[in-house]
Symmetry: D5
Subunit: 92 residues, 10 copies
Amino acid sequence: MLFQVRMDVSLPPDLDPEVRADLVAREKARALELQEEGVWPQLWRIVGEYANFSIFDVPSNHTLHDLLSSLPLFPYLRIQVTPLAHHPSKLD
Amino acid sequence: MLFQVRMDVSLPPDLDPEVRADLVAREKARALELQEEGVWPQLWRIVGEYANFSIFDVPSNHTLHDLLSSLPLFPYLRIQVTPLAHHPSKLD
Amino acid sequence: MLFQVRMDVSLPPDLDPEVRADLVAREKARALELQEEGVWPQLWRIVGEYANFSIFDVPSNHTLHDLLSSLPLFPYLRIQVTPLAHHPSKLD
Amino acid sequence: MLFQVRMDVSLPPDLDPEVRADLVAREKARALELQEEGVWPQLWRIVGEYANFSIFDVPSNHTLHDLLSSLPLFPYLRIQVTPLAHHPSKLD
Amino acid sequence: MLFQVRMDVSLPPDLDPEVRADLVAREKARALELQEEGVWPQLWRIVGEYANFSIFDVPSNHTLHDLLSSLPLFPYLRIQVTPLAHHPSKLD
Amino acid sequence: MLFQVRMDVSLPPDLDPEVRADLVAREKARALELQEEGVWPQLWRIVGEYANFSIFDVPSNHTLHDLLSSLPLFPYLRIQVTPLAHHPSKLD
Amino acid sequence: MLFQVRMDVSLPPDLDPEVRADLVAREKARALELQEEGVWPQLWRIVGEYANFSIFDVPSNHTLHDLLSSLPLFPYLRIQVTPLAHHPSKLD
Amino acid sequence: MLFQVRMDVSLPPDLDPEVRADLVAREKARALELQEEGVWPQLWRIVGEYANFSIFDVPSNHTLHDLLSSLPLFPYLRIQVTPLAHHPSKLD
Amino acid sequence: MLFQVRMDVSLPPDLDPEVRADLVAREKARALELQEEGVWPQLWRIVGEYANFSIFDVPSNHTLHDLLSSLPLFPYLRIQVTPLAHHPSKLD
Amino acid sequence: MLFQVRMDVSLPPDLDPEVRADLVAREKARALELQEEGVWPQLWRIVGEYANFSIFDVPSNHTLHDLLSSLPLFPYLRIQVTPLAHHPSKLD
């Protein structure tokens, strides 16, 4: 089941650089892990913004929330979730 | 080069049913054509809305505008375009 | 799987009264049918508005879109869908 | 009398972890208490957000405000309240 | 139980003048009736707008919706309802 | 001359508790004073929010600004002012 | 007593040209009249918009509403009113 | 003196095709004329929208309004004007 | 050439009182200076807000930006600029 | 390929003056460098705001993101990107 997810990151400018580097590294590791598991099939940078645009493929709403809240950057993210369905004009 | 595109359709409720059916059929044919050409690789319905969420893959801004304005439903669409870039945490 | 759904109805004031009465009657019949099937467990009127606030319980995003777009009033509805998950403070 | 209530939590990222843990624990205890009393019959997590979507069942506006402002997290909540009424298409 | 209610009227400019006059007259009669019953204790014009700002005093959400939807102008109104409670600094 | 005034309070969560208690006490004293003078005839709490909804009755715009800016909480308030006029359907 | 008033005009594009010309002529006459009376001391066009930005000088809220609703274009105007007061840095 | 101008066109879908073609042709002629005069040095299409993004170079606010309101499509345009100034980091 | 300018001030509540008093005093001095020079002919307080509503009369966009950014409070101001033109219904 | 880019700067008022001066100097140097390279052909100040309005000319979305995120002020910028295309009424 597919969901479009947009994440906007807002790290405080005065965050300790080490804390920041650690957060970002752990976020990347977790993102790679979820991509390898197949639940995060698409991930792009939005041009000019510290934000991404993603597609998640999960069995339920509950799983999606668990995955998103497991992200190390979660406390710094504004997340918008849009449920997607098959489109009748989609080429099979 | 990738762009995220959201299209919201607003056909007037009093549109002649034949005109409407013809428009929708031509829109579908054009959508299939563009998908076959490879420039519209992703297309989903947004749940509960007469709207889609798409990814376009085109060589330039200009081509994207030409494709979007060639859609038979173009006069009835509100379109939002977001340029996408490679994400540093994307699994290769 | 639960979704919160808000529907705002906007019927044109100059709609033919018979067409309107028929639409509203068919909407009600369909709403009762979906409630009996168990997929639309909660339905309230929002005070002062021609709008409802609902909970849907469906197996997938795709089913939810099918149900919503099967409503006779669908062309006159603005629908907002919010995916819900279990809350950790929910009393079992 | 039913009210739909949405609560968005924004705890400062630099909040002392013990203060935070204590606040969250007391919030959970108070939430369970209110659910046991029957005034907070529905409570869900909004997917991807530190927010909940709730239904309260209270005898008056005044009681609702007393309950909401008694929540330990109240100073950190943005709360939106929507009064609900019986819907004419509701299955009895 | 008190509610603040704002009503914005939007009558179509091309509405038949007799229909319009009749609607407005029936609205006024209904408004006076509800004021005499004591459920609509405060009613003001918002300066420069075809809108009013009101206080309703009703026993329940359900009653409030019944009263508001009984207004002859209801199909032409955008209504916003805000539940009110006693304020701790209110002079008794 | 009547004005509808909405005040939203946002005290910083880390404000010194004594400073806060003093501010709130002085605000209450000033609010009572203005009510006794008759210029602040209506004051309600907005349910679920640290906000009030008020009616002021003053001889001029200038007096209203003086009163509002004399409130001890003024630096922490977001204030919206709406001028009111007699409504033609008001019961005398 | 001064008020800042912004008026946005939206005449339907298919309005009968004679009706339109008559409305606009009567609006201009009324605007001149109110300026001569001294209650509408400032009036400018907002660049690129069918809108004006005005200052009204009136003895009360009620008078302001009467003047604004006496404008022939009133049914086609969106009006925003902002009460003004003396500024402490104003050069006398 | 430079101004950034965004124009969004909304022609009614049911506009007579000849009227529409005539309007669009006259708009193009006027746009070319103003470009030749040097007052409209930059003009681009916004991708996916029936809108343009322009720079105007005019001696005064008043001239800008005269030019914009002389456009044949003016009654169908939503126009936003932003005054521009020299930027201190601009390469000379 | 006239511009309508709205300035909203947001001084941090924890700003050192002396720094604040100095800033406000220098702002007032500069405001008086600009009024004496004739470039800031109108200045009002917006009722209930720490904001002003002004008219500037300057020879160019560039001058306006220089004046506004010379204000001591500039780093704490949110400024909105609207270019004004002669109105055809203005009494000469 | 052209993009319209708007950048709003928000430096914390309590930023160390030396850090600030260094950031601004490095931003200016980078801006000049990118202008010399020809990828940032247009750059203006938005009147009254700490913001700029720019045109970028780049071979791809990805390059644009690289350039924008290379700006020393990037962590303090809110950036909006709008893809541009050739306009059919553009004078060649």
